[in-house]
């Protein structure tokens, strides 16, 4: 399946979005402010930034898991709440959040149990999803019998059962080791290419963001705002060669510098120039 171009190319539209939390001390904490962003259908967008930059808050605002203090979230031309009620979202958290009392297939089936869908259609869909994440052989296993990476694949399968138009992933591979993480990155790209779904992916790994994304949204902290949006023009399909390509390193560097931000970086550059000068390396 290719990306669906038939409908409105903008799937998520964030306008003047702001979220202020009231702290128990009575103070107000601005999590994110002045967020304007449009996500195109079928796009893979990563949100990256230091801890406390509000990237998870932004994801939760899109998914209607929290409400904005100002501004608006429009998803498929609807308010976020309506989009949630229409089951436009699939969610994947850092923890797989699988239910131990259910087998793998029962976990994947859970969202469908909330609809009145008949058993045959439901079971067919569950099989299809397990096929997609290549866990068919583990259908009857319980989550605790699986590795962390496999558990997260179950969580992805479950998130996709409703055929949502947007997949929201909140540091889904943050708890995995580096090897598993890279494998999961390729896995998620394959799924994204197969389904044509729009993905919003929160991470604090620069290589991960660059490898996966069509665009990387760089955020800064206190208050959380978007400082830059980096287009990642690496060719697809991406694989091992991508990670070793020169362009990949350039993009990683670009995102890293964007993260370091304007002022801080210039100071550092200045400092290193001064050091070089003092050592007589440059004239």
């Amino acid at each position: 399946m290719t990306h669906d171009q038939a409908t409105d190319p903008t799937v998520v539209r964030l306008t003047g979005l702001e979220k202020i939390f009231a702290l128990p001390s009575g103070e107000a904490m601005t999590a994110v402010t002045g967020i304007d962003l449009e996500l195109r259908r079928g796009e893979f967008v990563s949100l990256i930034g230091p801890s406390g930059c509000g990237k998870s808050t932004l994801l939760r605002l899109i998914g209607d898991l929290t409400q904005p203090s100002a501004g608006s979230v429009s998803v498929n031309g609807k308010a976020a709440q309506q989009a949630r009620v229409d089951r436009d979202y699939g969610m994947v958290f850092q923890a797989p959040v699988l239910f131990d009392w259910r087998t793998v297939e029962e976990n994947v089936r859970l969202p469908l149990e909330l609809t009145g869908q008949d058993r045959a259609a439901r079971d067919a869909r569950v099989r299809e999803m397990l096929d997609l994440v290549e866990l068919t052989d583990f259908a009857k296993h319980h989550p605790y019998q699986l590795s962390g990476g496999m558990q997260q694949r179950v969580a992805i399968a479950r998130a996709l059962t409703f055929s949502p138009s947007i997949l929201l992933m909140d540091e889904p591979f943050g708890a995995l080791d580096e090897m598993t993480r890279e494998r999961m990155n390729s896995e998620v790209l394959r799924i994204w290419e197969q389904t044509g779904i729009t993905v919003v992916f929160v991470t604090h790994s620069i290589p991960e963001a660059v490898f996966l994304s069509s665009r990387v949204v760089v955020m800064s902290a206190r208050p959380g705002r978007i400082t830059r949006v980096v287009e990642i023009d690496l060719p697809r399909p991406r694989g091992v060669e991508t990670r070793e390509s020169r362009r990949y390193f350039e993009m990683v560097t670009e995102v890293r510098e964007a993260l370091r931000g304007g002022e801080g970086r210039r100071d550092e550059t200045l400092a290193s120039l001064e050091r070089a000068e003092a050592e007589g390396l440059i004239g």
């Binding site: 089951r87 959040v97 239910f99 009392w101 859970l110 149990e113 909330l114 319980h142 409703f162 929201l168």
Partner: protein, 265 residues
């Protein structure tokens, strides 16, 4: 097969210590010439147990009566605990009313009410013993179930929210399965408590065929072998009730770390 052998190896030390303890007890009584009304030897307790029908004490029929009282109290207390826990979980505003009262009531030694329960429900009646048992069992069940219903992983609730799941669906799919291990834990605590309630209730009056009565009456005639024999039967009854709940756990929550035999992560 292998699992059974593992289990045997695991419990072997406990079995050895138990048998050794009984043997030392027996040897000490014989060797030191302790008189039976101070502490009878295990052998004479076992003897009293099996000839009780001659001595006029009916320990085994009594055990049946006491088991019924404890079981009835356990079921009644568990049902009450479940109902209150669900109500409190459903209406959080009720929590601030019910919990302080519940905790205060739980601090009262409920067995002290046994004479009053006998007065209310009839000292000859099984219901007076069930009432004491139920009152004892209620609190741990209620608190445990409430904990299970409310202490749900926040991400699990967000997940259900992202599916636009109704409160009823969240209750059925998440809260109740989550509460089941907690309920069974409460039930395990409840088995012991229900038996305490029944036996103490019997101390304050009741039909002669009941373990608490056998304890009281045999002690009053200095037939301490019989008293000890009755206590052994009470203990065995308690262990049996506990094992029934353990079996239920294995059947109902095979996925739970406590049943899987793994450490809770």
């Amino acid at each position: 097969m292998r699992r059974e052998r593992d289990r045997l190896v695991r419990y072997l030390p406990a079995i050895i210590v138990f048998v050794a303890g009984i043997s030392i007890w027996e040897a000490a009584i014989r060797g030191l010439g302790v008189r039976a009304f101070i502490l009878p030897a295990p052998s004479s307790i076992v003897h009293a147990l099996f000839e009780n029908w001659q001595s006029g004490y009916q320990i085994f029929p009594a055990a049946q009566v006491t088991l019924q009282e404890a079981g009835g109290g356990l079921i009644a207390g568990a049902l009450l605990g479940l109902v209150i826990a669900f109500a409190v979980a459903r209406f959080p505003s009720a929590r601030d009313i019910v919990l302080p009262i519940g905790i205060a009531v739980n601090a009262i030694p409920i067995v002290a009410f046994a004479p009053i329960a006998n007065h209310w429900f009839g000292s000859q009646s099984a219901y007076s013993k069930m009432a004491i048992s139920a009152a004892l069992v209620f609190f741990p069940i209620m608190i445990n179930v409430l904990r299970g219903l409310t202490q749900v992983d926040a991400s699990a609730l967000e997940l259900m929210r992202s599916y636009a799941a109704s409160d009823g669906a969240v209750l059925r799919k998440v809260r109740i399965p989550n509460a089941l291990p907690f309920f069974l834990t409460g039930l395990k605590i409840g088995t012991t408590l229900s038996l305490i309630g029944a036996v103490v209730g019997e101390y304050f009056g009741g039909l002669n065929v009941a373990l608490g009565r056998v304890v009281v009456e045999s002690a009053s005639t200095l037939s301490f072998e019989v008293t000890w024999a009755a206590i052994v039967v009470v203990s065995v009854t308690g262990i049996a009730m506990y094992l029934v709940v353990v079996a239920a756990e294995r059947a109902l929550i095979p996925w739970h770390p406590s049943v899987r035999g793994e450490r809770v992560a």
